[in-house]
Amino acid sequence: MKKATLQHNLSSVLLCGPAILLYTAFFVFPTLLGFAYSLTDWSGWTRDPTFIGLDNFRELIGDERFFATLKFTLSQTAMIIVCYTSLALILAVLLDRMRVMKGLVRGLFFYPFILSILVSALLFQYLANFRSGAINIVLQTLGLDHWAQDWMGDPALVPYFILTLVVWQGLGFYTTIFLAGLQTIPRELYEAAGIDGAGSVATFYHIQIPALVPQIKICSVIALITGINLFPQILVTTQGGPGYRTFTAGYHIYWLGTENDRQGYASAIALVVFLVLVLVAAVQATLFQRHETDL
């Protein structure tokens, strides 16, 4: 009996050890280290960090750029959540109605999701380019010169440019989640609705949306995490510009850490943003819970 327990423990260690070791050493440890650096003035490269207590957080409270960044990130996130959820829901319902070519069309909408973020960002950067971009050239050919805009350089338009880029790439993913949800609705429900004389709009509101509440929940949580961590798209396309208009929290952290040699301060911001994410996710969860009891 004792030998069996020993062998049991030994095999547990053998099975689990590599995962725990790697994950602790190269994921958990640097994460905690990052949080610890938020209490230092570490430059990020050579000089050893000095402990400065909560100075970084004190600086952060008075930092207007940080709040502008946070505001932009949150508004961008809100738009991303709304667009992903609503567009994917509608697209999924439309795709679900198809009798032929369903797989093909679904595949087309999903395709951008398998591409690298670098590819989608470059494609949109090309489309939206002021002088040589496809959109403006087409508008000029059509004689609509005054419609041509500096899509990426105009502070009023650039948030929508980023939004379009992000939504274009991920829409297929969210649609797939809703499509999977639609498969779980029993056929009898549709038949009953049909007998009651419900059209497709009534079916959408009274059968499909209520049945898809769990999927709406999942989608908005994933979209929330995507939105708050928005970073590579900014790095490739606008690099925070024009001015500091498109500085997202993620890009701000990267910019402070790598280009301004202020890793300590960047870590403090990363910590605060992470807490904001947790907070928003908690609020979201509470809202959904209340909504669920309403239904």
């Binding site: 395709y111 040589s132 038949e191």
Partner: protein, 274 residues
């Protein structure tokens, strides 16, 4: 029947056109990769007047993309093989063996919420301290540890649906715990393994920010890092070369996607649909 009483016959065609319009930026990249730069600027939407293969030539001679592509492929294999082995074994232990398994699961799942930016620079410092900064080995270490939470989540979710009787039968037949795992459990995990291959294969092939940050500006030649380095060098964007590069790097995954679309969709959404 009632649901499709009066369906318009052109609904499907409309959806198909909508889908084609949706991916039209990709077609645009394809046709423009065969044009010269002046022609791209002059007429971006029309098909090329003659096929300019020089763009593709330049991608391999000027940007030197072949080596980095091979490196990326090798990195994919190395990371996927390690992830499958390490994560499947660990999740078996988490679900079936380990005391406080639930606690360990929370410990791993917490990793799903941490974005890369938080650990990016401390990780680089750690790698430099260990003397492996800016190496492929360090990048491999990062990819595997970064991938573990999701892989464990996928594996252990599935593992719980496997009846325990199978293992007991194997044990009675004299199989060791490790032997039971490899001979009985691991083959049953095949659907999860496929999911992980698709997800992380695509992630590592497509990744550029993480590899770019961890490998520095002049070392580390991986497919998309190399392309990014080339285009961020130049003040003026040579779209003809960029499009050729985009096509070359996206072609392999596009072929695989066309061949097994269902696997891709399932693999990429497995974490979210359960």
């Amino acid at each position: 029947m009632s649901r499709s009483k009066r369906r318009l016959p052109f609904f499907e065609i409309f959806m198909l056109l909508l889908g084609l319009l949706y991916v039209s930026p990709c077609f645009l990249a394809l046709i423009n990769s065969f044009k010269t730069l002046p022609e791209i600027v002059r007429s971006p939407l029309s098909p090329p007047t003659r096929l300019v293969w020089e763009n593709y030539q330049y991608i391999f001679t000027g940007v030197k993309l072949a080596g980095p592509m091979l490196n990326s492929l090798l990195m994919c294999f190395a990371v996927i093989a390690s992830l499958i082995t390490i994560a499947s074994m660990a999740s078996y232990a988490l679900v079936r063996h380990l005391r406080h398994g639930a606690l360990w699961r929370v410990f791993f799942l917490a990793g799903l919420t941490v974005p890369f930016q938080i650990l990016m620079l401390p990780l680089m410092r750690e790698f430099n301290y260990l003397g492996i900064g800016y190496t492929y080995f360090a990048l491999w270490l990062h990819y595997v540890s970064y991938g573990l939470p999701l892989c464990l989540f996928i594996y252990s979710g599935f593992m719980r649906s496997i009846p325990i009787d199978l293992e007991e039968a194997a044990r009675i037949d004299g199989c060791t715990p490790l032997g039971t795992f490899w001979r009985v459990i691991f083959p049953l995990l095949a659907p999860c393994t496929v999911t992980i291959i698709v997800f992380w294969g695509l992630f590592i092939w497509n990744d550029f920010p993480q590899a770019y940050v961890l490998m520095g500006t002049n070392k580390g030649e991986l497919a998309f890092v190399q392309l990014w380095r080339f285009l961020s060098d130049k003040y003026v964007k040579n779209w003809n070369y960029i499009f050729a590069g985009i096509v070359v790097l996206s072609l392999p995954i596009t072929m695989l996607y066309l061949a097994m679309q269902r696997r891709f969709v399932k693999g990429l959404t497995a974490g979210a649909i359960k």
